[in-house]
Every structure is written in C-alpha cells, then in structure tokens.
Point group: C2
Chain length 674, copies 2
Amino acid sequence: LLCIPAAAEDGHSLWFRHADNAGMHHGTYSPISVTGAKASNPTIAIAIDELQRAGIPGTTRLVVKKDKKAAPGSYAIECDADGNATIKAPDAIGILYGAYGLIRRHQLGQDYRSVSESPAYGLRVLNHWDNPDGTVERGYAGQSIWKWDELPDSVSPIYKEYARACASVGINAAVLNNVNAKPATLASDNLVKVKAIADELRPYGVQVFLSVNFASPKALGGLPTADPLDPAVQAWWKNKAAEIYRLIPDFGGFLVKANSEGEPGPGDYDRSHSQGANMLADAIAPYGGTIMWRAFVYKPSSPDRAMQAYDEFVPLDGEFRDNVIIQIKNGPVDFQPREPFSPLFGAMPRTAQMIEFQITQEYLGHSNHLVFLAPLFKECLDQQTYRDVGTVTAITAKPRGKGPTAIAGVANIGDDANWCGHDFAQANWYAFGRLAWDPSLSSEQIADEWLRLTFSSDPAFVEPVKQMMLDSREACVNYMMPLGLHHTFAGNHHYGPEPWYYVPGIRLDWTPMYYHKADSAGLGFDRTVATGSGATAQYAEPLASLYENECPMEYLLWFHHPAWTDSLPTDRTVWEELCHRFDLGVQQARGFQKTWDAAQPYVDPERFAAVQDKLKIQTHDAQWWHDACLLYFQDINGLPFPADTERPVYTLSALKKVRIPLGLYGCPTRDMLP
Amino acid sequence: LLCIPAAAEDGHSLWFRHADNAGMHHGTYSPISVTGAKASNPTIAIAIDELQRAGIPGTTRLVVKKDKKAAPGSYAIECDADGNATIKAPDAIGILYGAYGLIRRHQLGQDYRSVSESPAYGLRVLNHWDNPDGTVERGYAGQSIWKWDELPDSVSPIYKEYARACASVGINAAVLNNVNAKPATLASDNLVKVKAIADELRPYGVQVFLSVNFASPKALGGLPTADPLDPAVQAWWKNKAAEIYRLIPDFGGFLVKANSEGEPGPGDYDRSHSQGANMLADAIAPYGGTIMWRAFVYKPSSPDRAMQAYDEFVPLDGEFRDNVIIQIKNGPVDFQPREPFSPLFGAMPRTAQMIEFQITQEYLGHSNHLVFLAPLFKECLDQQTYRDVGTVTAITAKPRGKGPTAIAGVANIGDDANWCGHDFAQANWYAFGRLAWDPSLSSEQIADEWLRLTFSSDPAFVEPVKQMMLDSREACVNYMMPLGLHHTFAGNHHYGPEPWYYVPGIRLDWTPMYYHKADSAGLGFDRTVATGSGATAQYAEPLASLYENECPMEYLLWFHHPAWTDSLPTDRTVWEELCHRFDLGVQQARGFQKTWDAAQPYVDPERFAAVQDKLKIQTHDAQWWHDACLLYFQDINGLPFPADTERPVYTLSALKKVRIPLGLYGCPTRDMLP
C-alpha cells in the first residue's frame, strides 16, 4: 500500500520517497554485518544507514575484499536461501553502490539473488554551470546549491543530500563551477570553501573538480602572461595544484573551456589546445588529477560552425597527455533538441574522449517542458561511428593510456525544493547517472525505475506515464525543430521561437538564419560535399555517403537544403512534412495533459498540480512554436498549409513583438496574456 | 468568368461587387422604359442606373401603378418570351426594390419570370448607436459614418452608398443616433444636419428617425420638468415636432430608451411608460410619425432581471397610442449568444410590438469573430409563443390599430473600408435586411445569396463556406456560453470571458455570478416556479411547463440550477456536457480556419487575408473562453475534466490578470503576448 506522507510533497525526496518512508515505518532495524572494513568507515556507515532506512528484510552482510581486477565501485549481490543478502565489493564505495542497488531492486520488486555490476565509465561527472554569485547559467531550478557566501563556516545539509542522490545512481564527480570560470575560483580563500564541500561529498564517493580560467596566472597570479610554455606560468599552476591537493587530497582535476566564446586559452599565445592542456595536465599529474578539455570551439568567420571542432582537434590526435580527456558535446553544434552525433567521436583514436550531455534543458523548454532525455542520450551513445571501436559508448568507455574514462552531464540542479524545477526533470538527473553507469540500459527501463521509485508502481499509473516520458523528446523535436532544424531559438534565453532573430552587427552564427537558411527555394543547411559546406565528409563511411545522398529524415535539414516542394518518403513534400510534424508535436503535448490528468489518483496533490501546471505551459509553448515557425516559413515560401494542418492562432507580426523578459535566475517571465 | 478588379479589394463594395463590375464591363446600356412615373423621379432614376450598371439584358420596363391594396415597396417582375423584364410596383420605391430584386436574381442565375414580393414589416429599421462625437457604442468597425462635424455644409458620399446598401435589401428606416441620446440631438443646429442626411437617404426610400432623450425639455428646452403630463412639456415636444417636420416632412419619428440604465423617463415623475410614450406620440401623430419605445428595463433590486420587462409592460397593454410600438429585444436579458425569446412577445395583444435584434456583435466576439446571425434571428422569429397569433414573426408583423409594423436591428456599420470590421459581418447586415423583408427565408438561402453576391458562385467555394457560416453561431455558443449560460463576459467591453468578474459595490445584475450562479452544488439560474424566480411562468403553456420540467438542453442553465453531476439525455453529466461543448466550440473554430484556407483560390488576396486573420483571433479567443470558463467552474466544483476534454493551456490565475484595454473606438486592444 502506498504511504502518503502527511507533509506536503514538494518533490525534495527525489527517488528516495518510498525507500525513506519504508524505513520510517519499519520500527526495528534489520541486523547488518561488515567484513573487510570498519563499520565506522564513513562510506560503509552510510550504506548501513541506507539499508536500514529502506527496511531491507533479513540480515545483510557487507563484504569488502580488495580486487585489483575489479573496477572501483563495482559490486555483487548474492542471497542465501533465506533471502539474506550479501554485498561484495572491492572498496567501500562499491558497498555503498551495492546498497543503493539492493534498495532499488527491493523497492522495485526485482530479483537480486545474483547481481554483478561494474560501471562503464571511470568518471561519471556532473558539470555545474554555477557562478560565484549564486546564479546558475542555463539553470532553471533556482539559485546554486553551493552557498559560497556561507562557506566554509556554515555547511549546508544540502551538500550531503546532493551527494547521496548522486551516489545512489553512481555519479562520482562534480565540477562545482561554471565552465565560464572566474579566475577567483582558484583564490586561496575560495579553495578553503571548495574543501568544505569536498569533505561533505567524499563519503558518498563524489570527487570534486573545478572549472578553471586559463588566464588565472595573469588575472589571479599577477603574472604578465598565461602562455602555457612560459616557465613562470607552469610554475604557478604547479604551485596552485600543490595548494589544492594539500587541502583536498582526492581532488579530481580541472575542466577547461579555452578559446571558446571569448574565454582565454592557449590560442591567445599561438599555442595549441594540446600545449595548453598538457601544461595543466603536468601540473596535476603527480596527484592523479585529470584535465577535461572542452572541444566546444567555433568562430564567427567559419562558414559552418558544425565543422570547426573536428577541424581543430583531429590534427592534435596523439599529442595529449594520458590524463587529458577531450570533452565533446554529443552533437557538433550545441545541445539542440536533435543533432547528429559529433564526428569527432572516434576520429582521435590516440586521444581520450568523453561525451558532454546537457541535462539542464537550455534548448528543450527549460524546466517548463516535460522532456525525458534518456532517448536523446542513448541516440548518441548507441550511435555506430564506423570508427575505432565502434559506437560512441565504446569509444568513450575505452581507456586510452593510463587515464580514466569519463562521461559528463551539465546539471539541472538548483536550490528549488524539488531540485530541478520540474518534477520530471529529476528523471533526467537520474537517467544520466544510470546511463553513465550502464549505457546499455534502455530508456524504458530507466523511466520505469524512476517512475516507480518516485511516484507509484501501480501499472495503471506507470504504463501511460512511462509512454508519455518515452514520447516526450520526440514531441519536443516535433513542435520545436523537426526534420533536422536547429537553433531557431530566440536570442539569449533559448526558450521560445525566433527563427527571424537578428540584430544589426550580431555574429551571424548567433542568428537562426545561419542555421535554417530558409529562402524561397527551400530550407536547411546544405552541408553536403557536392554543393554545401562538406560536413558530411567529416563522418566515416558509410555514414558520409548516407548523410550526403540518402539522408535520414531526422537529419534532413541539418545536412541538406531541399526545395519546399521536394517529395519525401512519407509522400509529403518538405513543407507538408514540416507542417505535419509541428502539428503532431502540438497534438502530443495536448495528449500529455490528458495522460497526466488520468494519473491524478496515483499522485500526491502537490506534485500532481505542479506537473499539471507545467504541462499547460508546455502545450501553450508548443502552439507558440508551431505558429511562429510555420508562419515565418510560410512568409518565405508562400505555400498554403496542408488541409489537415491545424491553423495558427497567432499572427507573425504579433509573435515578432514578443519579448520575454528574463526573470529571476534567468528564467523567462511567464506572466502572459492570452 | 469572375472579374477580379485591378484595385485592391477592401470589401467596400459589399454584395454589389459583381453587379457593379458587370456594368463596368458592359459598354452599352440596355434600354429601359418607364410608365406611370417620370424617369427623372430620383428613386426611379436610381433604379434605371442600377439596372444598367448590372448589365441586365434586353429591354426592361418599369411600371408604376398605384394600388391601395399593395404594401408600399411591394413589386412584381414578369418577363416576355424574349426575356425582357417588366417591374411593376405601386410606388417608386417598389420599382427600386424590384430593380434590386431583379439584379439579385440575375446575378444568382435565378428565375425571375414570375416574381411577386411584398415586405413582411412596414418599417425595417437600423438602429445606429452612434454618438455625436463620432464614436459608436458597441461599434467595432471604426467611427460613425455620420460626420456631424462636417454637416450640413459637407455631405459625405458614404450616405448614399449606405442608403443604396440598405435599399438593396429592403431596409427603409434608420435611427441615426444612440439610444443613449444626448438632449442636443434635437437642437436646431443639429436638426439641419439631420435634414442633410435625410435628403441623401430619401431617394433610396430610407426614412430617418432619431433617438431622443426624454429629459430634452429640461436639458435642452430649459423647462423645470420633463413630466409628460405637464402642458409646457407637451407643448415643447409639439413645437419640436413641428420644427423637425418643417425640415424633414417624411421624418420617421423617435426611438426612446426611458428609465433604463440611468436614462431619464416618465418614471422620474411617477408616470408610466404609456404616459411617456403617448405624450411623444401625440406630438408627432399629426405628421404620421411613430414612437418606438424600448422595453429594455431592469433594476438592481430585481431578483431576476429577465422578468422585469414583462412585469412592467404587460399591465400597460392597451394603453398605448396606435403610433407607439414597443421595441423588445429578442431575449429577456440582453443580446446574449443564446437566449430564450422574450415572454413579452404576444403578451400584449392590444399593443404594437416590434423586435430589436443586435446586428453588431457586442456579445458575439465583436467584429473579430465570424458569427452568421441569421440562425439567431430566425430562432426568435420562428418561435411559437402559443399566444395571440402564434410565432414572434406573426405577432410583430400583424398591424395593431392604424400604426405601422416594424422590426429593428442595431447596426454593425462604421467608417471602416469594409463597413463592418469583419468581411463576414456584412452578411449580418444583409441577413437582417432580407429577413425584415421576408422572415420566411432560410438561413441557408440568405448565406447562399450573400456568398455568391459577395465572393464567388463556384460551388467548391460556396458549399463549405456556407456550412461554416451556418455552423458559426452554434460554435460561438459552444465556446462562449453553452447549455443556456449567459453573461459570463468581462466587465464593460463584453468581449472576453470573466465569469469571476466582480468589483466591490457593483450592481449584482452587472456581474456574471448573478447569471451563472455557480456553486459547489451546481450551475445555472433557477428560474422555475417550483424553486426559483418563477420566470418560466411568464411563458404560455405548454412552454411554461416545458421550461419548468423538461427544459431543452439549449436553455438548461438559463432556467435551472442542476447539480454538476446530474445526468443529461446525452448520457453525460452537466459538467461533462459543459466540457464537451466548450471543447466542441474550439474544434469548430479550428475547423473554420481550415475551411477558409481551402477557399483561398476563390477569394481575392486582400479579403482572404483579412478573414484569415480574424479567424485566427476567433480560434485564439475560443481557447481563451474554453480555458477561462472550464478552469473557473472546475475551481468551484473540484471535478476532473472528462478524459477526452482538451486541457487548458492557461492558468486561472494568469487569466484573471488579463485586462484588455479598450482601444480606439472601444474595441479591445489585441496586441497580445502568447
């Protein structure tokens, strides 16, 4: 029977809701024995506490047995004939992961008599784009959870809650601050605060990283240069590394956004990415630290922004230190609702590569739209590259040299009571963690787990709501950017549609026209070798030919500029298919509202109402996208809507006047008129 | 073949578009002979001109032959074996009506070899609610066409165009000014201006009336009172009448709104409506003038506003002079999207009664919504009252004493290029005129005529667009006020939904709650004898019992306060049926958009785009109504939406914040955000 707590359900308990309640109602705790480690080990102690709170029946044995062949954090579960479980692991964190794995299976009613798990990636990282002033870039769930102004004297209990949630899904690293990093990040008084957080996260196995500003030696250290070949610069970083590791012996390392969107980097001194990255890598190598170096580079002069990372990084293959990982966004542009995978994956076989997903929905309706991202993550992870060891997962999960493997997601976490702004956005945090641990999990399996842990296991609830989750990303693509359209967003906030966005003097690659290239002839970015930018050639065969000649509809307007009236395999023209898909997206959003309303009997009133309100906004926005894009494109092509396309209710001129002010925390203000 | 004029089609040519073009392209004019009148008679001259402009083939003979048995304006058309037509009429205006009738039939390809027509009503009146400052109360088509500040020196050509349009559908009287009349209306310098207009309208057979302020003898004449029994007051009105008739010998008479919504009246002196009306009637009787005395009375203290006109006027039956007609709105409240007919009709058998329709869409989406009103008009006209001579038409078309019969519509005309704001609103002007002439015409026939005269005769255009017109009033009822709901409008502008509208101190009968009476138990105004106000008893049997006991669904919430969960003949509950109908209305509005888009090949681009834009607004508003009403009622009843009901996209709190500013000419400003 479902236990509804008396307190208002604000979503803060995440996917622990029933586990924690089970313990609360259990009364007496089951006995737990520990072998191979002290029960007082902070991580073991947490495992014990979690198992008892969850009301795991019988006697549970925790067995730590060192095993050099076993990956850190791996675990096994076995049960005796009476159902008493034994968790075996090579380290304490493996025990904790095993405890969470046992609790999850117990909650879900799954068999755990013979379980063996090992994480696919060594580093499973959340990137927080949190600023020192407490704001979160592209954050839609309140202010930063890191309370820098209170630290180090006051240590918020949220840090442990955060670490617990991360550990429960296997996340083991956090980059605490924005990739657009301030030099003061590395100031001594700030490092003391970082240490305080690291101390809180450590028992949960969450390692702390920092984003660093490449110009820190100048801006913070007072040196005349930040040239990576300058000995004084190298010495400054070595000293800084020593200072950090004195405070935080298990410090993870640095994440670097260099020579990207105005940030400083080695290019400022005519040095390469590898020269910059290696200099930092050398500084932290003695301590086992890792450099994550972002490949997110583009410049206004490029005729095709999608090609630049590949062009810039592939020649550097083999030049990077073992403890450098190139962090590559899943797609070649920037976290769009759908992109083809980045052609960089597999194109640098002698270099460690990691994938960067965006969990926060910068380009998918912020925390207003229900968009379950597991299908987006898996679309990239499962992609066959026809290079190196094959899929994106295989390439990024394969160790290169002595360095770790890693996977990162830009966090969607803030200090909102429910952590993520939208109750269902929690599922994306969950899904990222689960996939970082095991990329072979299906989206359906993850949605199923999360729904049952977070809401209810009643099939009458789970089945339709799970289907809504599984359909939601495609629905978003449909009502925002079907057929491979990308970056038709409003300037700055990336929330609503502005396919017409342009201000005099702006970088063209910051305008939608650069990407959709709509004209009277047709629509889409011609990236073919035959007539376009040639980006298709950045892919290995047979993908290059496929994208060039028989492009899947999903990427049609990404790689091609077909005529509006060209016929598609659906027997619709490009224009008709576009109308059809925008329309479908609106219908899907409307359907989600009905699905959710039918779930009301299974959900506490607070979260029911919160999600219901968000779904309203989503449907409203779907119509807005539908109208804005179709009216704008129709204004260009002069074609009528197909007979079965639902007509716009807004005028193009009215929509062009819409200016959504960025409200508190950068979220668009939604005090709308109908 | 359709002739598209080179000039932009702004809709100004109304239903003359093809007729006028035909003449333009004809070159030589057919011969026309006149018998029994001079060809120079201004009205005959117009008839000749119209026939020639329309390119009527052959020789046309116009024969005026006095006939005391024939109604003024009646006509007959006959043709000889060669197709040469003869129009016979007892007067010149009959010849003009015959000419328009011939042209219409010719345009429509109808047989006119044996036609005989006679108008059902003697006075077919447009009421203009135009103010002396050029604004139009409840006008949504620009400023008044009457340019008082230019008159009498400058006489706009629009007056003749207006009169032509009226005459072409048989309208023969115009009340030039607002029923909320200023005393200065009767000032001598204003009467000279009225004369200038009357001179323009006269050749088209359109008689001029004025709305008068009952307190004019005080406010304008300087008398200490306006008491109708005061000899000085009576003398003032007699002198004023003499002054008017010296200027305008065929002046029609006065329209009076007395003791209604703050206007002065005989009640100010404890005199009855009949005492007030008769005093005015006596003043203009010598000149053949008519008093139209409005029955639109209600007071804040009344427990049921719908009952007051009946209660106040029925006792006065038989007291009015022959040249007084009681002007009764079609329904007992105020021009709602749907009302039952006023129980006053037929309840004063010794008194002349006329119906007052509202052509301007004060309560039906202004000139933004496509709502063809013929079905609304006919619903009332065809209504069997079970009193007197039967239907509302029969009752109002039957002469009482020596006075005329009459029918009135509040005009939807302004100085917008297309006259009515919405191209399809022209159809309501047209429909009113056609029904005032012949109430037996069907809505379908009128829509068919109007569409073909105004747009195109191609069946591929006419059939679907006609169906849209015929469905449009019911669609509006569905998305605004289904099941007998009424007056859930926003305060003041009566445009959008505000079922919650209330401001402290306001008259309760000016708030929606007074009418919908939604509470946790149910919805609707209990007007039964058994438990409510007893308004059902104002109807004759079997209607009284029908409304009391087996109320048609259309009037359910008008007469009853059923429980939300009561079952209806549709096997839905009241709440479910309400949701279903609001939903249906939204779907219908969306369907209109598709229907109109399919009509694009048959319509000039200007009017196509104008109507398309209006349909966007209509669909948008339909959603607004749907969301506002369903969310508001749901907030009261706490019931879930039925599974198949489309969910709101707005929140109740956001909708409650909507304040639509009244823009220029009193139209709501629609510079909306999505």
